[in-house]
Amino acid sequence: MSDTRSRKLEHVKVVLGKDVQFKTKTPMFSDVELIPRKAKVKKADTAAKFLGKKISAPIFVSGMTGGHEKLAKINMDIGEACSELGLPMGVGSQRAMIEKPELGFTFDVKKEHKDLILLANIGASHTTKYSLDRIEKMLDDVQANALCIHTNPGQEAAQEGGDIEFRGVPRAIADIAANLSRKVIVKEVGNGISKEVAQRLSKTKVCGIDTGGSGGTNWIAIELYRASGPRSVDIFREWGMPTAQSLVEVRSAFKGMVTATGGIRTAKDIAKAVALGADACGLAYPVLQAQNREGAKGVERYLRHLTADLEEEMLRLNCASIDELRTVGYSINGQLRNILSQRVDKKLLSRDG
């Protein structure tokens, strides 16, 4: 377990200090053009809904960390900012606190912020290892609103000694979704969810899919950096599906909640993602940077600016509400259009406003 604990700390240091973003893949929102509505609006309201609750904008902080005493402050600072702003947040994998309950405090954000919408987190490869009761208790201990199961076969394959046993994982996820007292969301960590996986998840009680697409932080690159030397898996560094591609594919195949995460950096990205069908967008790396610079105030300032930028973008598009943004006209162009034309109904490649 000391391996898990120290690995969590190392992950944050590597993300903040090393070049571990995707190099050749982008989220591909640059190939999406939104078409302003005709009727001018004077005000835009960014309020949205997340798991049935009102939030101030379709933005959340994606689960990142926890499981080491030095990482607790990151979660607490993010929790303070999200609570102030009325935005949801996730925590990183809580495996550490299942095995060592004394590390639970590093995830216990709702102790101070009871109204926060909190997403718990467990790895897909651990769903076959822990009983439903244990997972239920894990959520109870942090008062989580829902469970995110992160699937990361690429990261595990790249990690020295990674957990490469995924047999039984799809069935275990379906069982958890059917029996857990709270909703279950499945997310990737940077390699994207395809329409085939979304179709399979549609047959389960999983209520949400987070794209976890390529274009932002690259967890395969992080594990390659951490490795003791060059390895055969180095060639998989840029493996993955861009976030915009994953979003359109998942939306075409899955009727539940869909969130877009993976290289989301600007309000324009968020607006495009919402127009393409995302219920909300998750950010991680830029929030971690803001927390590293200035703690809770830094996170709050960053998210406040992002929300203000989104409001400005909505005004530019003449969308008074997120509902109107969901139906704004768009055109998918370039390489993204080429890729998606091989994967989904061509009707999804454009929409009149």
Binding site: T151, P153, E196, S232, W239, Q342
Partner: protein, 146 residues
């Protein structure tokens, strides 16, 4: 990269129902009347004798100039029947793409015999990340052309 493969991109499968180390990367071939199970990776050899000499570690060889494949079994080279297509590949991901595009085997150049293990590991990872439990499944893995 072998012609055309650079424009092919696999679609990742985020929920493989597999154990990476137990994926079946072998194919069944007929080698001079013997049924063999080999990795779909052939190493170039100058002659059948050279293939036999290398054969302790590797089962499949492309005999150059005459351009035919042999499997080395029990110290002998046996000609392969049933190969329709092979492609030169630089690594296991290229090999996976070549197989997906119809090649029976991938060929790696002479002098790269120690690369076979690396190529096989890379092929295995590509199969894991596309939820391909065996080579037949890999042949149907979703893919796009850029």
């Amino acid at each position: 990269m072998a012609q055309g493969l650079e424009t092919m991109r696999f679609i990742p499968d985020a929920l493989p129902d597999l154990n990476l180390s137990e994926i079946d990367t072998k194919i069944s071939l007929n080698a001079g009347g013997h049924a063999v199970r080999v990795f779909p990776i052939a190493v170039e050899a100058d002659s059948e004798a050279a293939a036999v000499k290398m054969g302790a570690d590797h089962s499949l060889f492309l005999v150059k100039n005459r351009d035919y494949l042999v499997a080395v079994l029990d110290g002998k080279a046996h000609r392969i029947t049933e190969i329709d297509d092979y492609k030169e590949v630089a690594d296991g991901l290229e090999l996976a793409k070549a197989i997906r595009m119809g090649a029976d085997v991938g060929v790696i150049t002479a002098g790269a015999a120690d690369k076979v293990k690396q190529v096989e590991e890379q092929l295995r990872v590509a199969m894991f990340l596309t939820n391909s439990k065996d080579i037949d499944a890999l042949r149907k893995a979703p893919m796009v052309t850029l």
